[in-house]
């Protein structure tokens, strides 16, 4: 066969596969959105769920998801940045650091239900954090942190060596070089990665079933004291997130409109995760242009 023909066949096969993937994805998204969007309204987004009656909403669940995400990020971003900087710039390349890298890789690919069970045994029971946002945030940290470390490391490794050397050659310390020259350049990569990681946290269910719990107390949205048990801001209260809620009403929902609520909630979840992705791309591109260009 002539090289040209082979090339043509290979190209069409690749295009066909790509098209199939896009089609499946579009179908899936379309299905979820078409089924769910009709049910989404302001009332749906803000009101509390009903157990046996019609017309419940997903307000507290939506709030819980966002709050849990914020908590997780508060834990993972500083530690992940620090560890990533250490791994990329300070850690000597030896057996120990290679072992740490391997552990980090493995950790980020542990199935989330296992992380959830681990959280139940260690965080909820052993440490006595109970079913709480805090346990949930720590469980999410288990696979979010490795991601954060890797993102930071990759971002810093991508900084041209000459940039780093130029700063050192001026007599600047290593730390100052990292914070003032390298991190700004790595920032688009780190930020994009962080937002994508956030999307994953937002959609996570399995790791939260046994850590953040499957129920919320009756939240009092006028009480913002983080220490009182019914305050939405209390990190030690149980909290059912949106993804967990979908799973729960699908498997044991009693309300007559459970199906619609699950569909609506799924649509909200998918849209939010999509928004995270678009935001990541947009911000990454925006920052790249801001830092490299040509204003």
């Amino acid at each position: 066969m002539k090289a040209k023909t082979v090339d043509k066949i290979a190209t069409s096969v690749i295009i066909a596969i790509a098209a199939l993937i896009v089609l499946v994805l579009a179908g899936l998204l379309g299905y979820i959105l078409v089924r769910g969007l009709g049910h989404v309204s302001f009332h749906f987004l803000t009101s509390a769920p009903e157990t046996i009656r019609k017309g419940g909403g997903i307000g507290p669940q939506l709030f819980n998801s966002i709050f849990l995400l914020v908590l997780t990020m508060i834990i993972t971003i500083p530690i992940g940045l620090g560890a990533g900087i250490y791994m990329s710039e300070y850690a000597p390349s030896n057996k120990l650091t290679n072992a740490i890298r391997l552990v980090v890789e493995v950790l980020s690919s542990v199935p989330s239900i296992i992380v959830g069970l681990f959280g139940l045994l260690v965080l909820v029971n052993l440490f006595g954090f109970g079913f709480s946002l805090f346990s949930g945030a720590l469980a999410l940290t288990v696979f979010n942190l490795p991601l954060m470390v890797r993102i930071t490391e990759q971002g810093l490794k991508g900084v041209p060596r000459e940039q780093k050397e130029a700063s050192l050659a001026l007599g600047l310390s290593k730390w100052k070089t990292i914070t003032s020259v390298m991190l700004p350049i790595a920032m688009p990569v780190i930020l994009t990665g962080t937002i994508l990681a956030a999307g994953r946290v937002f959609g996570e269910a399995a790791a939260l079933l046994f850590t953040a719990g499957m129920s919320s107390p009756r939240l009092d949205f006028s009480d913002w004291n983080p220490l009182s048990p019914f305050s939405p801001l209390n990190p030690f209260r149980p909290a059912e997130t949106l993804a967990v809620h979908i799973w729960k009403i699908n498997s044991e929902g009693l309300a007559p409109d459970a199906g619609e609520i699950a569909a609506g909630a799924s649509a909200v979840l998918v849209i939010t995760v999509l928004l995270f992705n678009f935001a990541a791309r947009w911000l990454g591109r925006y920052m790249y242009r801001k830092f490299t260009a040509i204003k």
């Binding site: 041209p160 780093k164 050397e165 130029a166 700063s167 050192l168 050659a169 007599g171």
Partner: protein, 252 residues
């Protein structure tokens, strides 16, 4: 301003167990330009990067020997590398301005080294840009991104950046090889100008450039210095056959 030179004694550099520079001893006089020439891979950059301890960054690279500035051996382990590098400027082959404004590129170093006063910084920025013959072209857009400058302007900015921290010595690794002829001429003029204050060591592949800008020339071959003499002598009356072969273009 008092000028300082640099004396290199028996310097060897190895990557792992592969030697790249062998027992080089050279003397760089203040207020003079020394050119390092030689075929690709003969260790010029490696040698140059040892002079401000930049090779410390490369894992497995060992540098032995002595490098004296004033009365300090900067290659000894006790040397504070961070503050040492302030005294030795460096310019790379490809312009590498920081991803910051023109002003920030220059103010960045001095501010770190203790000049916080805005007015003083302004003065340093203007003075450095003037010395690098870049002031007129940039004075109206100091706060624009340095990356929007042309390659030649970027390279002059990099030179301005390095003189802003008041070094004794400036190392240049093929500073004009990525530039067009006009920009190259400007850089060469600049080198002649800077020579009045600094000790300059420049690596170049351009024989004419070496002949034009330098006072002394060292010819490197396979990691060793074959010949080191006044530039006119090297180019008109070399003592060694290898040098003659190289400058007449018979190899390398």
């Amino acid at each position: 301003m008092q000028a300082f030179g640099m004396t290199v004694n028996d310097l060897s550099v190895a990557y792992g167990d592969r030697t790249a520079v062998k027992n080089v001893s050279l003397d760089f006089a203040p207020k003079q330009v020394t050119a390092l020439i030689g075929p690709s891979g003969c260790g010029k950059s490696t040698f140059l990067r040892s002079l401000n301890r930049m090779n410390d960054l490369i894992a497995g690279c060992t540098v032995t020997g002595e490098i004296w500035i004033r009365d300090q051996n900067i290659n000894s382990p006790e040397t504070d590398v961070v503050s040492l590098r302030q005294r030795i400027g460096m310019v790379w082959q490809r312009p590498n301005p920081f991803h910051k404004s023109i002003y920030e590129n220059i103010a960045f170093g001095p501010r770190y080294h203790g000049t916080k006063n805005k007015k003083q910084l302004d003065e340093i920025v203007e003075e450095s840009l003037r010395k690098a013959a870049l002031w007129d072209e940039t004075k109206d857009r100091l706060h624009n991104s340095a990356l929007a400058l042309s390659g030649g302007q970027q390279q002059r900015l990099c030179i301005a950046r390095s003189i802003a921290v008041k070094p004794d010595i400036i190392l240049m690794d093929e500073p004009a090889s990525a530039l067009d002829p006009v920009s190259t001429a400007k850089i060469e003029e600049l080198i002649a100008e800077l020579k009045q204050d600094y000790c300059i060591v420049i690596v170049t592949h351009n024989m004419h450039q070496a002949a034009r800008v330098s006072d002394k020339t060292a010819f490197f071959l396979s990691g060793e210095v074959v010949e080191y003499d006044l530039t006119p002598t090297i180019f008109t009356n070399p003592q060694r056959r290898e040098t003659n072969d190289y400058i007449t273009g018979r190899f390398g």
